[in-house]
Symmetry: C2
Subunit: 377 residues, 2 copies
Amino acid sequence: MSRSELGAALGVTRSTTGLLVAALAARNLVVEGEAARLGSPGRPSQVVRPNPDGVAVISVEIAVTSLAVGLVGVGGHILQLVRTEREPKGLSVKRTIDDVAQLVESVRAWLPPGCWLAGLGVAIYGVVRRADGFVHFAPNLGWHDVPVGKLLVERLRLSIPVAIANDADLGALAEHTRGAGVGMDHLVYLSSEVGVGGGLIVDGRPLVGAAGCAGEVGHIQVNPAGVRCRCGAIGCWETEIGGAALLRHAGRSAGSDSVAAVARVLDDAVRGEPTAKAAADTVGHWLGLGIAGLVNTVNPRRVVLGGILASLYPLVAEIIDAEMRLRVTAPAREVLDIRPAELGPEAALLGAAELALAPVLDDPTLVPVQLTQRRSA
Amino acid sequence: MSRSELGAALGVTRSTTGLLVAALAARNLVVEGEAARLGSPGRPSQVVRPNPDGVAVISVEIAVTSLAVGLVGVGGHILQLVRTEREPKGLSVKRTIDDVAQLVESVRAWLPPGCWLAGLGVAIYGVVRRADGFVHFAPNLGWHDVPVGKLLVERLRLSIPVAIANDADLGALAEHTRGAGVGMDHLVYLSSEVGVGGGLIVDGRPLVGAAGCAGEVGHIQVNPAGVRCRCGAIGCWETEIGGAALLRHAGRSAGSDSVAAVARVLDDAVRGEPTAKAAADTVGHWLGLGIAGLVNTVNPRRVVLGGILASLYPLVAEIIDAEMRLRVTAPAREVLDIRPAELGPEAALLGAAELALAPVLDDPTLVPVQLTQRRSA
């Protein structure tokens, strides 16, 4: 935007706009320059734009089959990304913290000169207490009561804030900020790989809950006559809609690579192989039924489906629509749409970056004034 | 509070406090006078307190078995209340609007002299579009697509704002404002008479949803092997936990007075009559299972149970606790408690009053300056 557009948008005077732009420029957070000329003649106007190298965060995803660490700038720009596969025997807490620390070091070396490292955000596949990053339960990692926040701070010895949250909550945040949920004040995000995670946006803000563990929708009971969940209860939603459920309904085993096995069922269903198609339809039925319950509860404008659910959705959209018509009142249905996620496998990583960047976006004066920049300003 | 306490709480100067108090006093909204002397010696200090007769709203509850209209002042003070029983054949839209209009007229006559009538709030047992009070579906009234807001405005010819919302959403608001949910930023309210309604508070604010129909939790599917709901679907939560469910599980009919029949089952269960106790236990199981799903979804600090669920709760608290332990993660359980509602049968009416008062509490200058008051100030 030009300075005059900024001033109009903020409702402040020309001189106040100048002071604000100068304060941001002194911190390397914005640069001023010519706007791109979109075929219009005449002298290009000066615009203020975010400096892509002004501030960045380190973003970490602790998943089950992989570890990822990225360097992410304002606007969700991934400046650097390292993802490594994990062996099932490499999931111990100590090994994980060591691996993350090593990846963080390697990624940190890519920080552009003059770029301020504002924080570290971590997405983890488990139930997290946000206040201190304490992981109560991460069933697929086999972790119980692990103080991940404390361990990472001690191991990394970085003097930057560390923020940790559940992967699906962060996927919801990322899709809401720059994916399939942009502009949606009321959003349900649902993602499945092995288990099922959910994240909710209400009135434009993440629904975190009283202890930071809202969105544990995978353990809503849907089928009293169903199978036992890893959590110990019978008939949890994730026993009917996760990757494991798709394999079970298709009568196949996960083998050594459950992700690949699930992908094969989906491919076969697309090609019309009857057993795979029936399995997809069954999962679609339970998916629709559960989504209807969430829609009745929080009345979202959009439901975004990530992970294998994004691939499954086109196959079962009609089955899901039928569940909506059966179970959801007209006014809630009229404002609703359902669509696949847009950010792909990096959604949680991008959400962790948003989480770490939030304090600086709230208060850019947290970034110190850069001496080199100040001289040239 | 004294003026100096007010100034400190607001962080404004003595003179600003004086201006603000004068602006409220000129509108009859506050009065100044001596504080009650709590046994302390010396001269009592002057305090500013809300004027109980300064502003009021008319509050309406359109329920199935009764109609209620109240005159409610700031602080939830019911200045006047009229409740009339309804016959099943008196539930037509026209008859209802006529009856409400008549009750509003009679209650309005009780408005204290000098008291400003700020608005009309309506609680209705149905799915409501908040923007204009359009009732999409009120199954127990047999209403579909009724523009209640428009009809009331036309019939009443009052020049005050009319706000309409679902009864359970307003019960949640009332319990949160001055009942069992005070101070709870994350609250689930659940109430049942014939059907089941829910209302959610998230981050201290009502979760209204994209179309104003969040909290329709009675139609979450819990039992695929269950019975057909009035909505057409099988196994909705309200088919397992409402008054009708309790009667069904007890093998009793509703007779001519379903409310009394339900109360008898509960009384019998308290006395240990085996069939009634078993029915209560069955409802308790489904109640706990559904609450667990809501807790997993929104992670509340408190669940408040209203209507017959308030009476049922002490009988089945252990069954509900067992469902929580089975289905809810430890951190969500640790911050949670469940308790009966405190406001009794007037919860929805008080919530409707809060809804109607909200604009004035947000901006007291909506109330015109009172000439008599201004002269004496």
